[in-house]
Subunit: 222 residues, 2 copies
DNA sequence: AGTCAGCGTGTTGTATACAACAAAAACATT
DNA sequence: AATGTTTTTGTTGTATACAACACGCTGACT
């Protein structure tokens, strides 16, 4: 499958994946030599990959010192959700009509009937697919690229904070239903409004989770 | 000044500058060897720079074939102005309050009294400074990075289409004045609306210029 | 003349050796 | 013991040689 993929692409995806899954945790130092040994390639493709990852904000390269995986602060939550709050309602309002009805109906069906049969992990994939499907109705590559970045950062937050609790998952599903229902009626103004409400709730939930996380860390020492 | 700048940064800015000024015109092919000779550095910093420029959408790297400077199509105008129409009114609406009054007053003074003393080139720099000052009130680095990209693309369009005609410059200045006046009153909703109108007018003007350009190209053969 | 195989040239991809610098460690001096 | 200096070590920056591939060209064969 990846036989024709260049080494620099392989290195890029491999390192990116480990950063997103927090195998390389926020704030830790990396160095080219260690990555070289781990991926069994020379420094050149590693450096290509690192250059790209720096552009995307996942790492910082400190000249002659090392590479640090970008940390995640409270403020990053604000930054991520600012972009989402700007893009996602806009996508519905201006491009909702471009989303195929069958796609909308598929999500409606999934959210309304079988939500409880999903594991948390599976529901995450579903949540991602839902939001991405909406945003991709904007076909502007500049906007989509930015969205991809914050999407990655959002994934890191998920891994760091652990999964949602069940209660929030229920609420999330209900909010999704309200958005999808508005979409089915082709009432894009309402859909955008519901999306905004959903994102604000999600933002607060993320804030709480990060705070809880900080607290329990302190209780467990360190 | 640039003594401590790394070669890869020097290469990046040098190539980027030539692309923006259309010394490397849209659609032309480059190769690492020629760039290496032109900049008197080895391929490594060149490749670093190219990787970054590819991220920013200014070039495409075709493996084993060469490097092509991204072309500018009609559709790119839509993409650029979609981002501007999304960001700039948003900046005024949500962050207008963060712009210092003295900055606003400085622009008011400039636009209202001394516009006619500027050359077209100078007025461009002023126009840029004005829009950038507004957008930078959004402090979100993700949004600002996207804006920087489309800003560069916009500059390329300017160079390609030649400067505005005087008539449009007059109109532009009047539109700027309307925006700044609303800002002085701290009426950010009005300011955002005026900005939207200004951008739509500017978009149409750019379209017309590109069309004229295409036509005159055809008249002059090819 | 047409077609296809093989070769040659030009391009980026990859590996690696060396340079430049930063930071820590070791050491001498007081 | 404290301090300033030198050395050592570790890191990325840079240069360069070689590999891999794409594409056009040549030539033989039909």
């Amino acid at each position: 499958m990846a036989a024709k993929e260049s080494l620099k692409q392989k290195a890029y995806y491999a390192i990116k994946d480990k950063i997103i899954r927090c195998e390389y945790a926020p704030g830790v130092m990396l160095n080219e030599e260690a990555l070289r040994e781990e991926l069994h390639v020379s420094r050149t493709p590693i450096r290509d990959a690192l250059s790209r990852l720096e552009q995307e904000g996942l790492i910082s390269i400190l000249p002659k010192k090392g590479i640090v995986v970008s940390s995640l602060s409270m403020n990053d939550i604000n930054l991520i959700f600012e972009v989402r709050l700007l893009y996602e309602p806009y996508a519905l309002l201006k491009y909702g009509q471009k989303i195929k009805d069958e796609v909308i109906y598929k999500f409606f069906h999934t959210f309304s009937s079988s939500a409880h049969t999903f594991s948390e992990e599976e529901y995450y994939a579903l949540d991602d697919a839902f939001h991405v499907a909406i945003v991709e109705a904007i076909q502007n590559p500049y906007l989509l690229k930015t969205y991809d970045w914050i999407h990655n950062q959002n994934l890191r937050f998920r891994v760091m904070t652990g999964q949602f609790v069940d209660l929030r998952l229920e609420r999330t599903n209900q909010e999704h239903l309200r958005i999808v229902t508005a979409c089915l009626k082709h009432d894009w103004e309402l859909a955008a409004k519901e999306m905004e409400a959903h994102l604000l709730a999600s933002k607060n939930a993320t804030f709480d989770l990060v705070l809880d996380n900080k607290n329990s860390e302190m209780q467990h020492g360190k």
